[in-house]
């Protein structure tokens, strides 16, 4: 058993255990950053598998995404820091069963199948190949990704921002009156309150 195998076992343990802890911890910030830890461990395994770019890029993408995840978790979850221990689950047994079945099925499939052994050559210029692929054969995928991301940006802004072109999203439509560059505090006054109520005690 070489150094790589030991590292692989350790990192797998970190990835799986922190992935499991995500759903057990009470603090939402800890949950997000445990998920980040799981991602980082997987990224390091990917590094071990001779894919330096994908590995490191996973770390940097996921660090940002989990940071944002933490912001939103804290924003919208009751008791975000887990000061009171809590368990917000439904159909728990069924979910555990499904998880175990998925794991067992996929593992069996992985063990039973005979894969071709065609390892990546460590000297291969993998980042370079990826660039050629992006600009050549997979050009369409690449540009489609651009359009998809644009759609995501627009969709996310439309859904999340309050003041749209026709006024706040939680009130009736108003004629356009948006002036760019103005002070946020000086926005149009809100007229109706939508549905506000203050009892949040489920579960």
């Amino acid at each position: 058993m070489g150094l790589i195998d030991i590292a692989f076992i350790l990192l797998s343990a970190v990835a799986v255990i922190s992935g499991w802890r995500v759903f057990v911890t009470d603090s939402m910030v800890r949950a997000s950053f445990l998920l980040l830890l799981s991602f980082v461990a997987v990224a390091l395994i990917i590094l071990l598998m001779a894919a330096p770019y994908i590995g490191v890029a996973t770390i940097f993408m996921m660090a940002v995404e989990m940071m944002v995840m933490a912001l939103f978790m804290v924003m919208f979850m009751m008791n975000p820091a887990g000061l009171n221990p809590m368990m917000m689950v439904h159909q728990n047994r069924f979910a555990i069963g499904a998880g175990v079945v998925a794991f067992a099925g996929l593992s069996l499939a992985a063990l039973a199948t005979d894969f071709v052994d065609n390892r990546v050559d460590p000297a291969k210029r993998v980042v370079h190949d990826l660039g050629i692929e992006l600009l050549g054969p997979s050009m369409l995928t690449f540009e489609t990704a651009g359009v998809t991301l644009l759609a995501t940006m627009v969709g996310a802004v439309v859904l999340s921002a309050r003041s749209g072109r026709f006024g706040a999203s939680d009130e009736g439509s108003l004629p356009p009156g948006l002036e760019p560059g103005g002070e946020p505090a000086g926005r149009k006054p809100e007229e109706s309150g939508g549905h506000h109520h203050h009892h949040h005690m489920h579960g």
Partner: protein
């Protein structure tokens, strides 16, 4: 480190992610389950790429696409959560169901 062992770890991540996605009431926690499943998928893809495909560039591209899916999923998911919260002051999956009125 063989392809089978990598795939088993990936399966474990997918299993845990599936559990999270199915069991969590909160929409944001549900998204964490989804992300964890995609994490497993990412590992599996790179595993295949490294051990069975001999480093074909399409494997890496697929990995990038998985990450793009994560990003899109998060951006839209959180925007949705915000919109729902604005209307309903709640963030659970049940309340999302009743939005369709």
């Amino acid at each position: 480190m063989t392809l089978s062992s990598v795939l088993i770890v990936a399966a474990a991540l997918i299993g845990i992610g599936l559990y999270g996605a199915l069991s969590q009431q909160s929409f944001v926690m549900l998204m964490m389950g989804l992300e964890l499943m995609l994490n497993g998928a990412l590992l599996a893809v790179i595993g295949f790429w490294s051990f069975a495909l001999g480093g074909a560039p399409e494997g890496q591209l697929l990995a990038i696409i998985i990450m793009a899916v994560m990003a899109v999923d998060m951006a839209v998911g959180f925007a949705l959560v915000t919109a729902v919260y604005r209307k309903r002051q709640a963030d659970t999956t049940e309340s999302l169901g009743t939005l369709k009125n």
